[in-house]
Amino acid sequence: MSTETLQIVPAAVEVHDVHKWYGSHRVLDGVDLTVRAGEVTVILGPSGSGKSTLLRVVNHLEKPEIGYVSVNGELIGVRKQGDHLKELSERAILAQRSNIGFVFQNFNLFPHLTVLENVAAAPVATGKLDRDEAHKLARELLDRVGLADKETAYPRQLSGGQQQRVAIARALALRPGVILFDEPTSALDPELVGEVLAVIKDLAKSGTTLVIVTHEIGFAREIADRVVFIDGGKIVEQGPPSEVLDKPRHERTRDFLSKVL
């Protein structure tokens, strides 16, 4: 299962004092977060609290107005210039993203490409692998997520759970140091949630750095090294699941957990 091609070097992520506004609406309000290499972080919080925005800031799909993100010490989307942070060119940002995988709530697979092409596209397009190598890697990854027999299917011919597993394989194809999951099971029927969580658990065991936004508390308890609770664009509390989930210190955390459990 873990052949040489699948080796991933886990990365550390640092979010430093990030502020984000949409117009006058403050969505992130000074978020500081450290994710150590190989750690699994689960982000919890009520709807609209800024969880998706935080994840999207990490791979620079959204630009923070203040603050920065670094992956393995490298600033994402910006560079230091004197006392300022200057935005990088689009090309440079795209190149940085190959170290940051992203799995969307709605999968966002490319519907006109087969499953194999979906997974193999990024390593070829970014010049990391040639076509044959990419196809070989894609087959291994599909095998890993249990979809070896689906490589010629088109995404719309698959169930939601299968599509999300393809999306995970697609994110893995660049061998990113960190993978971000934005509610990976929220669009799935209950009976399909398990198969996707199993794949994520497998990744967690293999030592990849994962940051997961989810409402699956049981799953969080099982795999998280650290749980982060966000409300109103601020981190309210964080710590190991045994503390945050079982003995929350803050009223808002307790309130939220009593609603989702």
Binding site: N59, L61, E90, R91, L94, A95, Q96, R97, S98, I100, F102, F104, N106, N108, L109, F110, P111, H112, L113, T114, A121, A122, A125, T126, Y154, P155, R156, Q157, R170, A171, L174
Partner: protein, 328 residues
């Protein structure tokens, strides 16, 4: 979904109603298709009208079908057809390329590009095609040389207008300029129809910008661009008949000239032109079907059947039905 288990009705246990044969369980009864007498009457009326029309078309001496046969494959007409095809093909390709560039400019982040594209589309959709063609025609007569370079400054290239601007170039340039303005809107609509999530997924994977457009966005956009663009293509085929006015003998021009020489044959010549345009439109439509089917890959779970496949299923359905009827 939330049906209580006891509520499921078993058909075999349904109480037999008074009109049914009491012994047969309901599940074993054949469902009789609804008869539609109105449809049969309508079909008969349409058939009679169609037969009348065809009979008139064939027997009315006004159409002079023998002269039609004489002209249909005449070299003059075929030469004209070739000009039509040539002008159409060049203008279709150049117009689409121009349209893609204009659409990209229109959707770009640069306000200058957006404005230029908007003004271009606005201008060329406003000016009648015939005016553009006549402009270009006179322009090519007016300016002996055309140079590309800094305004009032040195020229980088100089074309000898009279050599460059053969009539066919004037026609292709005019039609392409016009076609690009319309194609731009079709392409822009297609690009906008692609889900935002696709752009995000491509960006999140770090795919280079050009690759995102060529391999992710544009192929999906083509699905909705195709029907719109084909519509314009069919317009273009017919619009080529205007090039006659810039002294190019296309299909229509050839027929027109022959009609002037043989005034008695005008009606059969117009018929020849009509039939050829019908054939061209048919070819375009057939190609469209297969192109659309190609771009539907992945968009639907199963591809729509080709006409041949449809025919085959229709025949086998009919056979099954006959067999069933015979069995009862």
């Amino acid at each position: 979904m939330s049906e209580p288990p006891g509520a499921a009705v078993s058909l075999t246990e349904a109480p037999p109603s008074a009109t049914d044969a009491p012994s047969k369980p309901l599940a074993a009864q054949r469902v009789l298709p609804l008869r539609r007498p109105g449809r049969w009457i309508a079909t008969a009326v349409v058939l009679v009208l169609a037969a009348q029309f065809v009979h008139g078309l064939v027997t009315n001496p006004f159409y002079q079908w023998d002269r039609f046969g004489y002209w249909f494959l005449r070299p003059t007409i075929l030469d004209g057809l070739l000009v039509t095809l040539e002008v159409t093909a060049y203008s279709a390709v150049l117009g689409l390329l121009g349209g893609i560039l204009l659409a990209l400019a229109r959707l770009s982040k640069s306000p200058v590009l957006r404005a230029v594209s908007w003004i271009y589309i606005w201008t060329f959709r406003s000016i009648p095609l015939i005016v553009i063609l006549l402009f270009l025609y006179n322009f090519s007569a007016l300016y002996q040389t055309l140079s590309v370079g800094v305004p009032f400054g040195p020229a980088f290239f100089t074309f000898d207008e009279s050599r460059l601007a053969t009539d066919i170039v004037v026609a292709v340039v005019g039609l392409s300029l016009n076609q690009a303005a319309y194609a731009a809107e079709a392409v822009r609509g297609g690009i906008l129809s692609v889900d935002q999530g696709q752009h995000e997924a491509a960006a999140a994977l770090g795919l280079p910008k050009g690759y995102q457009f060529r391999k992710v966005v544009f192929p999906q956009a083509l699905r909705s661009i195709t029907p719109n663009y084909v519509n314009q293509l069919i317009d273009l085929v017919k619009a080529t008949s205007l090039v006659f006015y810039v002294s190019l003998l296309d299909l229509f021009g050839a027929a027109q000239t022959m009609g002037a020489t043989y005034p008695g044959d005008i009606v059969p010549l117009l018929l020849v032109v009509t039939v050829w345009y019908l054939i061209l439109t048919t070819v375009v439509s057939v190609v469209q079907f297969y192109v659309e089917r190609y771009f539907a890959r992945g968009a639907t779970r199963t591809l729509p059947p080709t006409p041949l496949q449809k025919l085959r299923t229709a025949v086998s359905d009919l056979r099954d039905r006959v067999r069933r009827e015979a069995a009862v």
